[in-house]
Symmetry: C2
Subunit: 186 residues, 2 copies
Amino acid sequence: MSTRAARSRDDVVRTAGRLFAERGYHGTSMRDLAAELGLLGSSLYSHISSKEDLLVEVVERGADLFQSSADSALATSGPPVNRLKALVGGHVGVVLDHLDEVRTFLNEAGALDEVHRKRVLAARDRYEASFRAVLSEMNVENPKLAAIFLLSVLNAVERWYRPSGPLKREQLADEVFRFAMTGIKP
Amino acid sequence: MSTRAARSRDDVVRTAGRLFAERGYHGTSMRDLAAELGLLGSSLYSHISSKEDLLVEVVERGADLFQSSADSALATSGPPVNRLKALVGGHVGVVLDHLDEVRTFLNEAGALDEVHRKRVLAARDRYEASFRAVLSEMNVENPKLAAIFLLSVLNAVERWYRPSGPLKREQLADEVFRFAMTGIKP
DNA sequence: CCTACCGATCGGTAGG
DNA sequence: CCTACCGATCGGTAGG
């Protein structure tokens, strides 16, 4: 048996996402990443061309996942509240199923060069616009602010939710939706 | 006139807070910090003993500011909703007045060694407990989850609020409070 | 994917 | 607070 650790490009990107999410971009060295894959640092460069390119790819995966989720949610039929529910459920699903890409997308975009950072900000605004549009359809008083508040709650899920905790995955989206619709309720 | 740049320890800690907030702990070098103060890297060590100590000090300042705010808010008389309003107003005030320490406290605690990181988690839990206590007083259905959701909105203020924007500082706390109490409202 | 490197930069110290 | 350093580590390359 060979002791060679043959890795695909996707292995490299996914492992990079995990380390960027856990330790941050600047807190992760290329040798850290290689070691996680059972390689030496120099071996990474047959898969990718630079550390920065890796960050770009992980962040773009996060952006694409959110946008696909929104596009799908906006196609939901019925009253606008159905689409809002789909947006919330989709967002929670993306966070739970792609935690590493999501955390890197949300927390490490600042480490990108200006061109890519602006592209990420544009992607976030486009995603947020999906929320604003549905909230407008619902005749919410201040759709812009409501979208910010709702996304604040949704994005924070990454920071506190543990699948092993008392709150089951299906309940989570329901609870967020309920809080957004009616507040803390006495 | 001397060209010597005489700095106090507090100058060093405050400037470190700004850079840690903007670029992250691992994205800030001691030479970056020194240059910002008009010094050479080695000169920093007459003020502080290590980079890690600097992070500890900035993060602890953030923790203390939030806890002082909560202690003060909990002393508010009248029905519990008054105390909740004071907690929200206090939190927004701390974020806006001490943005660098807050951002470092919220985003860079992961770069601390285990001992200090656990201390920060304990400080956060104690602060969150102030919210849980007031929400319990208000007979909210799920005070623990309500506290998480409300703090999600409050902590996100650091990420999007611009004092130059349409929302004035005084309105911000009111809008967060209203969202927490009643949701998006159709 | 590894061996053998490269120049640059890192946090930090000794001594004045 | 500066001069003059230190060993360690950084991202990355040449060549096989």
